[in-house]
């Protein structure tokens, strides 16, 4: 049995979220501005509270289930689990809650975060799309993710397979703007398992959010709920590839309901994976052809490359020959060899030096000039 008082409000928020058949909407109604510790003690002490009676849609059984669960919950232990996992619990209205969500009528009352929540203060862009993406979609998502991150924009995505993963992969590869992810499962339950590495990388370099309690399995109903957070977090929402119906279209609806600008990447008219995007364009969505289209939309300019200091103009060396053989777009090593005619070891060594000097980027088996 847990006494009320010595634990922070956040602990009770997390405990309420963990009650059986609790969902974000019910929790919002239940809390309705009251401190979670008060609601919790009402529950435990079997006091008849207006709030509880006002949830008239909820059956009496569910309410008694809550009581039973609340009485057998060790809030102390739950709180220890949160802190041990390095998870922050954010309460709506409390300090540290993302400002972007605070104004949203359907914002989560309790939110779990791992990583640095303050990254959400910068400019953001939500990138969504189908899990069954094509190579074209993955390429565009990756390039957009990388370009946005390089321009200092926080790439927000759902860490699903396909487009989501490609967008975050690109964002991480730029090693610039931090990424932000919103999961549909518990924050300690990476899903899908194949993206566990990506999940960890996003946590390490940016922030992961989830409104599911710790250890919650990726249940189907949580994903549409998660999509409203995605829509709410972005300054702009871009759909890279989407079938006519699907989770991405939910996000789009949520974004439109919140008055967020929605952009879509044009795709081949023959490709079913682009049907949703092309339909959005027909409906008057702005097209996103490249990063510039998106940056213009979030009224941001790509930061100008640092002007070369005339004092420090480097001596033209063999490295310059290699530098100009690398395009600002991905260039295969083979192409660099063909253009310079240098032997592979010299070219590789020059690229290594240029990379150390920050003049070129090492990509996925290719090189790119900065």
């Amino acid at each position: 049995m847990s006494g009320v008082g010595h634990l922070p409000e956040e602990a009770y928020g997390a405990a309420l979220l963990g009650l059986p058949s609790m969902n974000p909407r019910t929790l919002r109604l239940l809390l309705d501005g009251s401190p979670p510790s008060l609601v919790w003690s009402d529950l435990v002490s079997n006091r008849q509270v207006n709030r509880l009676t006002s949830l008239h849609k909820l059956s009496a059984t569910a309410k008694s289930n809550w009581r039973a669960a609340a009485r057998s919950t060790d809030v102390d232990e739950l709180w220890c689990r949160c802190t041990a996992a390095g998870v922050t619990v954010l309460l709506r209205g409390a300090e540290g809650y993302p400002a972007r969500l605070a104004g949203d009528a359907h914002a989560p009352a309790v939110l779990f975060a791992a990583g640095d929540v303050s990254v959400l203060e910068g400019p953001t862009a939500t990138v969504v799309g189908t899990r069954r993406c094509t190579g074209y979609g993955a390429e565009v998502a990756w390039t957009l993710g990388r370009g946005l991150a390089a321009a200092g924009v926080v790439v927000v995505s759902g860490l699903a397979a396909g487009i989501d993963a490609a967008a975050h992969g690109g964002a991480l590869s730029a090693e610039a703007g931090p990424p932000a992810g919103v999961g549909g499962s518990g924050i300690d339950v990476p899903y899908p398992a194949g993206n566990a590495g990506l999940w960890r990388a996003v946590t390490r370099t940016g922030v992961m959010l989830s409104e599911a309690p710790l250890g919650a399995a990726p249940t189907a109903w949580r994903f549409p709920e998660r999509n409203r957070i995605l829509a709410s977090l972005g300054d702009v929402v871009v759909v890279v590839e989407s079938h006519r119906v699907g989770g991405s279209m939910h996000t789009v609806e949520a974004a439109i309901a919140r008055g967020k600008p929605v952009m879509a990447v044009p795709g081949p008219v023959t490709s079913p994976a682009s049907e949703g995007c092309n339909a959005l364009l027909v409906d008057g969505c702005a097209p996103a052809r490249d990063v510039e289209d998106m940056l213009a939309r979030i009224a941001l300019e790509r930061p100008a490359p640092p002007a070369p200091d005339p004092e420090e103009e480097p001596e033209p060396t063999g490295d310059d020959r290699v530098l100009w053989a690398v395009d600002p777009t991905p260039t295969m090593f083979e192409t660099v060899l063909g253009r310079t005619g240098m032997n592979p070891v010299e070219a590789a060594a020059a690229l290594g030096r240029l990379e150390a000097a920050g003049r070129v980027l090492r990509g996925a088996g290719w090189w790119e000039r900065r």
Partner: protein, 502 residues
């Protein structure tokens, strides 16, 4: 009326000595072979009878029993035809017993009395505890490579009979033909563009590093792979004997001189079964493609189309250099030290390098990439993307060194590795890396950066250092510098990335 003659049968690549005992007695005329003969062996009765009669020798109208000792071991193949015929002649008194007592015989008989080649002549001759061995004319070049045994060729049974009874001379052994220059061996200068691919071949040959080529169809992966054996040094006498023995046992055609002196190139089709690749069989274990490629190149084109279980069978030979095949009735170990070259497309449609042309879904690509298991992928020291050459390069003149020039560089690099006591750098044990491949400070810094970024694992680090050592050897550098490490990084791209993963 009993005679006994030495012969041998093949078990894997090793010979097992067999005594052929022939007993002729009065009784109902008949001919029985005992001692677990297989079908080919049992049929020898009809071949021996026809061969004797065609050669003007007599066939006894008596009861003939042939025993193949040790009688508990299964005997396969037709190589026992000749010892049975000779034993029979001795048993009926046509050949004096002392002529055949210290002599071993192997060979298949034709109905006209001619002698035909048998697989594994080298191992068979080596296995027989005799001073002299008689082999078919066609098997002589390989059989004569066995030391410590006088090998005599025979064209047919009559000739052999005359020589054994002293009525004629032993036929003069054929002169060993000079190894013809391998004229049709493809040259590296035929390849245009493909600078990275050609360089990867050079490093693979110099350091015995397994190589994976990933590129769209028609980009020249197969063309590159076929040019790798030409870059490898000539086989040493010991290696040549080993490879020849395996080829002989597998029944593969041998060079005219009998000795495989150039590194072999084996390219099994992707429909290959596990037994054909690894070795096996029922009665006589036959060496598989991995053994036939010993001291040479095993090229697996369209690697993702091989059955995954078959590919994973490669892991033991890759790790240990030998393969042990076990069946209920027998087991055999074969040498299997090969240089593995794999080639595959980046995705099912093949155009994964240019995403706008690729028609595959993400799931299709992932499933395709997964067909090669992680542990197998780890064995490849070199993983490079092969791109289609530019039209100007294709139509232009040769733009790189030919096989001869590159092979010379490879040989020099190998010599440097040999001075340090390893056959090639790919085989350096991890514990010896610090001693054998010391890093310059800037090289260590470059590697540290990669480790920090998480783009390199601890195991990957060892592989990378071996490759960097090879590159340094190709440049005659004492220590491994930053440029060699940079080169090695280009040659070992992440597999997932090469397969279009983001």
């Amino acid at each position: 009326m009993i005679a006994s003659v030495f012969s041998a049968i093949l078990n894997g690549v090793e010979g097992t000595p067999v005594r052929v005992e022939v007993h002729v007695s009065n009784g109902l005329p008949g001919f029985t072979v005992v001692g677990l003969p297989d079908a080919a062996c049992r049929e020898s009765r009809d071949r021996v009878r026809a061969a004797l009669l065609s050669s003007g020798l007599s066939w006894p109208v008596k009861r003939v029993t042939v025993n193949l000792a040790p009688s508990g071991v299964r005997k396969a193949g037709s190589g026992l035809d000749l010892p049975i015929a000779v034993g029979l002649l001795a048993a009926i008194g046509q050949l004096p017993p002392e002529c055949v007592s210290r002599c071993g015989f192997v060979g298949e008989l034709g109905l006209d009395g001619g002698l035909r080649r048998v697989p594994g002549a080298m191992s068979l001759v080596a296995a027989m505890p005799v001073d002299a061995a008689v082999v078919p004319w066609a098997s002589f070049p390989e059989a004569s490579l066995v030391a410590g045994c006088q090998v005599r060729p025979a064209r047919n049974l009559r000739e052999l009979f005359d020589a054994l009874t002293g009525q004629g001379d032993w036929p003069k052994p054929p002169a060993r033909p000079a190894d013809p220059e391998d004229e049709d061996a493809p040259d590296l200068s035929d390849v245009r563009g493909q600078r990275l691919g050609r360089w990867a071949l050079e490093v693979a040959a110099a350091g015995w590093h397994h190589l994976l080529l990933i590129g769209p169809p028609g980009s020249g992966k197969t063309m590159l792979a076929r040019r790798l054996p030409g870059l490898l040094p000539e086989l040493t006498q010991q290696e040549a004997l080993e490879t020849s023995r395996i080829h002989s046992a597998a029944g593969l055609p041998l060079p005219r001189a009998g000795l495989v002196s150039r590194p072999p190139f084996r390219a099994p089709h992707h429909g290959a079964s596990a037994a054909s690749l690894i070795g096996g069989g029922t009665v006589s274990m036959r060496p598989g493609e991995v053994s036939a490629a010993t001291n040479g190149v095993l090229f697996l084109d369209e690697m993702a189309e091989f059955a995954p279980a078959v590919l994973d069978g490669l892991r033991q030979p890759l790790e240990e250099g030998t393969v042990t095949v076990c069946r209920a009735a027998a087991s055999a170990s074969f040498p299997a030290r090969f240089l593995l070259v794999g080639a595959l497309n980046p995705c099912p449609c093949g155009e994964g390098q240019t995403p706008s042309h690729c028609r595959c879904t993400d799931g299709m690509r992932k499933r395709y990439a997964r067909r090669l298991s992680g542990p197998l992928m780890d064995r490849f020291d070199l993983r490079v993307a092969v791109t289609r050459p530019e039209p100007a390069e294709l139509l232009g003149p040769p733009d790189g060194d030919g096989t001869e020039v590159v092979a010379k560089r490879v040989a020099e690099a190998r010599a440097r590795a040999a001075e340090r006591g390893v056959m090639a750098n790919g085989l350096i044990p991890a514990s010896a890396l610090d001693r054998v491949a010391p890093l310059e400070p800037d090289a260590a810094r470059a590697l540290e950066g990669q480790l920090r970024r998480g783009s390199l694992s601890a195991r990957g680090l060892h592989r990378l250092r071996r490759v960097a050592r090879t590159i340094a050897d190709l440049f005659a550098a004492e220590r491994v510098g930053a440029e060699h490490v940079a080169g090695a990084l280009e040659l070992r791209a992440a597999y997932g990335r090469l397969m279009g993963e983001r």
